[in-house]
Symmetry: C2
Subunit: 292 residues, 2 copies
């Protein structure tokens, strides 16, 4: 199957799972679920759940048993966007062409919607089938997600990102921010399926993929913030420069940033088994070319 078709099918499957989960919540006006729904149905690409499903294929798990993991990573991602957009953080008014959560529902509700999505991710992980997977393996996957989302992962990245605004930082410090802020969750996405079936060698190789995929992805994001078309991206460009954010284009220039994207993309595939990497490689190529 061609990767575009695969990604479209995976995106539709994830959208359907999210719609079904929201339907089960019986969303009421004025409820936190309404704010969760607003951000969950804002036209996300579902890249993280797609990586869960692709890594699942790599280790031989069909899509359906991975549903809770796919939902959990999208919920963690969506929570992080809502909180990052808050006035006290990046203060973004628009995301994917629509008002951000706090512009729509107010700051209190946006904070709570993020909290609820983060918590719901762990509800989902604890609901993973213990007939499909060994319960101890589910705990290891849950631990992997919590560590990636927490103080040593996503949150540390955001803290350092905020601290680096209007500062001169080194390429090494920037790489560290990206490793935590962006790559940690991608790493968890592709490691968790391997952990669920106890394939520790695959978990290592997939984790390596996720890390370099994440670095490449963030570099592309930074490049798009300079050269992208706001109409296509659904968000303003030039915002990193406005906030004085440290980015690869600012530190090494646009051309060198593109060279680094290719380098990270090569590194991502280095440890994967050639016979099984087609879908993961396809998603990587898609992510790599967004900015070309």
């Amino acid at each position: 199957m061609d990767i575009g078709t695969w990604m479209e099918q995976a995106r539709r499957q994830v959208d359907q799972w999210i719609d079904q989960d929201l339907a089960s919540m019986e969303v009421q006006p004025g409820s936190v679920e309404e704010a969760m729904q607003y951000s969950l149905t804002a036209g996300g690409k579902r890249l993280r759940p797609q990586l869960v499903l692709a890594a699942g294929e790599y280790v031989g798990i069909p899509w359906e048993p991975l549903r809770p993991v796919a939902l959990a990573v999208e919920y963690v991602h969506t929570y992080s966007l809502i909180h990052d957009d808050l006035p006290a953080m990046d203060n973004d008014d628009f995301r994917r062409g629509r008002p951000t959560s706090h512009k729509m529902f107010g700051e209190a509700m946006a904070i709570l919607a993020g909290d609820a999505l983060l918590t719901e991710a762990f509800v989902k992980m604890a609901e993973l089938s213990t007939t499909a997977f060994e319960a101890g393996a589910v705990l290891r996957a849950t631990h992997c997600l919590a560590v990636a989302a927490g103080r040593q992962g996503l949150i540390r990245g955001q803290v350092r990102d905020l601290a680096a605004e209007h500062q001169e930082i080194s390429v090494e410090a920037l790489r560290d921010i990206h490793l935590k802020k962006t790559a940690a969750l991608f790493e968890a996405c592709v490691k968790m399926p391997a952990l669920l079936v106890g394939r520790m060698g695959d978990a290592d190789a997939l984790g390596h993929f996720g890390q370099h995929f994440g670095l490449a992805f963030q570099m592309v994001d930074d490049i798009l913030n300079v050269v992208g078309d706001p109409a296509v991206l659904g968000k303003a460009t030039g915002t990193d420069a406005g906030l004085g954010k440290a980015t690869y284009p600012r530190l090494v220039g646009l051309d060198q940033a593109r060279v680094l994207v290719d380098e990270q993309s090569r590194l991502a595939l280095a440890k994967l088994d050639q016979a099984r990497l087609e879908t993961l490689k396809g998603i990587l190529t898609y992510a790599q070319r967004r900015s070309w």
Copy 2:
């Protein structure tokens, strides 16, 4: 052992566990762990971990294997305080006699410290010993905590509490807010030990205790906000009235609120086994008498 001595020993044990966990984080200045540490060592009574340990005694689990659960519930509680104190929520400048997290570290760091504590709670749950407990039972306890903390528990309570400010609401609506905002986490504290050892009948009876304990506790809190001594409480009183909060003293008067505390305290014990309830009853009596 007299209940005061038991509670003091339990509090010291929990304080020691928290100190050890913070030491393992190697807290750096300017890190999110510094803000986590600030709120975790702000002189909390450790009532929720105490209830975990007391419920553990009720079902025959020693303290040590429950360490991750005791930490997890205190982390969830501390996260909820940090986020509730934010300017967009209750806008409190002081808690336990010290500046609140956002006054100390700024709003961005306070939001992130709350996020990190919530996430760390699930790191801890996933680290529960699968030699002491069956892995499937750990997943059921983790699910219990996530549901209690999430959109159907703590967060729904906070949403409805904020919506009820400056509104006339019924006693039934207020009870529903307290059930979610306060009682849900107490319920999880006492249910989890029973779930960990697969004693479902005890889980039901303990859940019933936790729910009514939580209602009694919140009523006492509301009463103290009217009649308490700010120096003893370590926080301002009269703040509920200032925010136009719905409370039992406002809806039914102080005397009737005290009658309701006693009623909830009786209900809390109704389903417990007489031979094993001493410690739980002692903690309940302590909570009930805080305002007398």
